[in-house]
Assembly symmetry: C2
Homo-oligomer: 375 residues x 2
Amino acid sequence: MNVMTEAQTGAPATGRAGLEPTYEGDFVLDRHLLLESGRMLANPTLHYAVYGRLSAARDNAVLVCHALSGSALVGSWWPEIFAPGAVLSLDHDFVICINLLGSCYGSTGPGSVDPETGRSYGPDFPLVSIRDNVRAQAQLLDSLGIRQLRQVLGGSIGGMQALEWAMHDPARVERAAIIGVAPLSAMGLALNHLQRLAIQNDPDWAGGHYLPQRPPRQGLALARQIGMLSYKSAALFDERFGRNPNRNGEDPWALDNAGGGLIGGRFDIAGYLDHQGERFIERFDANSYLAILRTMDTWDPLNGHASAEEAFRRIRARINFVGISSDWLFPPASVREFAATIRSTGVQADYREMFSSHGHDAFLAEQAELVRLLQ
Amino acid sequence: MNVMTEAQTGAPATGRAGLEPTYEGDFVLDRHLLLESGRMLANPTLHYAVYGRLSAARDNAVLVCHALSGSALVGSWWPEIFAPGAVLSLDHDFVICINLLGSCYGSTGPGSVDPETGRSYGPDFPLVSIRDNVRAQAQLLDSLGIRQLRQVLGGSIGGMQALEWAMHDPARVERAAIIGVAPLSAMGLALNHLQRLAIQNDPDWAGGHYLPQRPPRQGLALARQIGMLSYKSAALFDERFGRNPNRNGEDPWALDNAGGGLIGGRFDIAGYLDHQGERFIERFDANSYLAILRTMDTWDPLNGHASAEEAFRRIRARINFVGISSDWLFPPASVREFAATIRSTGVQADYREMFSSHGHDAFLAEQAELVRLLQ
């Protein structure tokens, strides 16, 4: 079953395959984080991991930003980036990865206790924007005395953060690699909306007030499965699954089964998607999923700016945009166009295209090819 | 809201916009229908509509086959096909359209009473294949004394039926127009699987034994919404909805709302999809939806044949295949390839491409363009 790399994230954060971090811990902001939405997040925690050693001059830091369901353990989900001669070197780079606010992997999220109420946030967890995340991350870097980032890189929501870094803190960012991302299209918003509905429809979601022992498993699994369609490509599905019956021997043409005549045995692709849904609910929280969908939906780097010129002209970083040929969530044409818009404001931004049948997921599923492109 | 034509079906079957049929009624098969699956369907009813007059020589019949959630009322959902000088003429053609078995628009389906048990089929409704439908439809045509079909045409599942007609009853079919269809890909199977799960996840589905007054509304609405993504195109969504907030004034960046901080105000595309879901549950039945998904999933014209050659060589009809440039459920390349495979067996089959941003739905949403192509 595990023929494909886990979409969006690599291995579960709890799975410690790959590189071990030099340090993994929490940073608690010593003040409230005023969010773009106007709400406050009281003393949020950022969970982070670092790899390698910070140089005495503190000039070798690299920030990696993770995607929707990722974690701070970049060495686990993006190990090939660290291969000898690849993008990052543990001999030379000090690599930091910070868990997104809203997540369930250590940073403050819906499952965390709100110090103002003594209860967990649950569905009252506020909208935390990409920019809010970047501002919180900047405080963590400040605390580590890191004034300079050699590079900020990320795919998908990680790329949204990388661009916001270059916009928000232009003097600090020398280079950015922004992979498989552009402002989310209407189709992307639609896919996220249906994932949200899948969770909301599950009675166990209980308006977000579910008990930890009774989470909305079916809803979260279906949400993940809808997401999986957008992370993969039709060509990959055809190649891997075609119209084959499920490899466990189920028969799509069977007379009947447990579901009666209306529900047949599954095709192989259905068995695969169900398996992905089942794996996901073991490792991720439904309210965190909703929180980060909202972070993703509301990202628009032009928001609050009169023009692209005004939004991007402060950027000092050299930016490498990477589009993925088979990505239909963030189609390569939209990444290329986005790069061109940013370049037109005077930013040094190039565009490279990764040829892969893996769809959006290729930045995780075909890391060697990505490395080749970023070298 | 109603900027787009209803996907897959045109107007609801109850909506009698467009042409009135000459006759609409039921045909009851006088024997059991032995299904490909090995099950029997006892004296099934076919609900059908006819338009125009059958000539004395009975040589002017045309069969139109409908898609997933369509009805026999082709004059309502495909009116432009009947426009003066278009594809069909009520002065010259006798047009028949027959509701699919499994549907909720008059033909025997899960909501019908099984004469063997005296109870409605519910989830025990058997798998009825495309070929089963064609064999039942042939009995209806026999009863009308129709030995010859000038043309059989249909889009999507309607096109599956049209091809099966040409294969099953080669002497009867002079021409076929097969629009926006090829054997369902793994991505298509995946989309159908997730629509099925959305219904199954709804506790009101109750394993298919729901009460008519308490159907699985949320599940069916979500299923329809997932389907809608595949019937439309990303370009159309961008053009029509972009990243606009919902036109009713909801604010995706709002602090909070009824759903707490995790659920924002909707974007316009989300409002549109919700509206489509709400409309659909007023007119369609969840078990019928499941039944026809299975009919669609299991269609493979090569099934039971040693080769394409063996499967298709009996066809005598001239076939026009139509691919839709922006269709990602049945991509034009796969329709073109399917046409080429069939042509390679000696069949007169051509391929034409409809340029449209409407996606799979274009055969209903841009009928004038389709007419131009079929003329």
